[in-house]
Amino acid sequence: MTWDELMPLLAEETGNTALMVGWATLFTVLIGLPLGISLVALDRDGLRPMPALKGVLGLVVNVGRSLPFIVLMIALIPFTRLVVGTTLGTAAMVVPLTVGAAPFFARLVETALREVGRDVVQAAQAMGASRGRIIARVLLPEALPGLVAGLTVTVVALIGYSAMAGTIGGGGLGDLAKRYGYERFETGVMIATVVVLIIIVQLIQSAGDRVARRLSHK
């Protein structure tokens, strides 16, 4: 395959990967952030102790985390069909990606929030701040550098998941590597895919690090 053939292909599949990861990141945050907050707030010594509910949520998160992504992806096929109407293509892949990454991100959110000192939360309580305000104005801002670092790790993991998703019809760079590198022994395409992936992950990681550092006033 020549450069002229390779470039449009690479650009298109990079676009598909970005699309999958982008949407999945959005839904992962929308689900994982409240889930992570709940894991902290509902804890025995949390803002609103409900240990039973917390136990259930923790179990759900652990189940989501214990399945290898490739298994989860296949197991979710009926659910994906229900939600998106199809199991093929980029849009369909957002469902398993989100289900796979949200529990992961929720745990990272939980860890970041637990790093916030107990005395800071108590101080806010002593000032008469409501639970909602403590979450929005104390816990989240104080944990922001940790949350950004967690999000960065999650996006990188999503890129890895998305490559697997590509193999069952999701498109993207994983699909490209499988079709050309694995099935047709096109080493050039394989190498190009690897290089593009390395560059993307590197860019995301260093951007995430930089933002986290800028936000940290510790």
């Binding site: 309580q125 000032m127 008469g128």
Partner: protein, 316 residues
Amino acid sequence: MIQASGLRKSYGSAVALDGVDLHVRQGEIFGVLGQSGAGKSTLLRCVNLLERPDAGTVTVAGQDLTGLGERELNRARQRIGMVHQHFALLSSRTVAGNVAFPLEVMGVPRAERERRVADLLELVGLGGRGKDHPRQLSGGQKQRVGIARALAGRPEVLLSDEATSALDPATTESILELLRSLNHELGLTILLITHEMNVVKSICDSAAIMADGRILEQGTIASLLRTPGSRLTREIFPLPAARPGEVTVTFTGDPEEPVISAVVRKYDVDVNILGGAIEELAAGSVGRLRIELAGEERESALTYLRERGLLVEVAA
């Protein structure tokens, strides 16, 4: 101003408060002194219900807090300032942002908030440092921010949780001075807990001594000093244990007459001074003297000392 009665609190089998009554008068600085684990921290947290007591009631400024719902309790807490041992500042906010936080909670409009924050920082000696982040400040300065934040809601009561325990002696001195001046100038009632006798000595009008979840004694420093067998007095003046017959005399206020030489001249007794000290307390200067008193007129001499208004304790 603060009235707690019958407070009980236990964590599992560990009893933190075992029936505590506390009475803090308006405008005074009240110190609760005790070792760590004595329950004083739990007691302080029960005053603004950060810890809910298992039994008992807490009344602050005439309002029974234990009966309030969440919303009313939060409103009441806005009128009670609190200062923390490790400052508990928000690292994500500037100094001004930290002081503004309670004002945001209270719903004070932005323009007024900014004015008030500037005034508060001026008050605690941090004028012009508003844009700094807490990490750029020293421990003493952080605690000043903590105090400014605690005062934002114009509280009548300030709770201090070991506010100086993380600070070096010189800084401790300056923070205690600040608390004293706030007490004078704003008429602020201060309830503080500490394990440092020095804090009680230098700023407290009243004190309580706590051990094992109980208050052993409480009252104004002056009245405790006049109470025979007071632990507070013993803690302030660590004289060796008295042997039987030895006499311990405690002087409060300014000495008007040289009583010891007077007693020797008036009565047929010999006085042997075994030890003694004078302490400058916030409540005035106090002296304590351990003497041996021997001779025919020993009893009359003791009576004479008592009549001069001194606390005379004879070891049995």
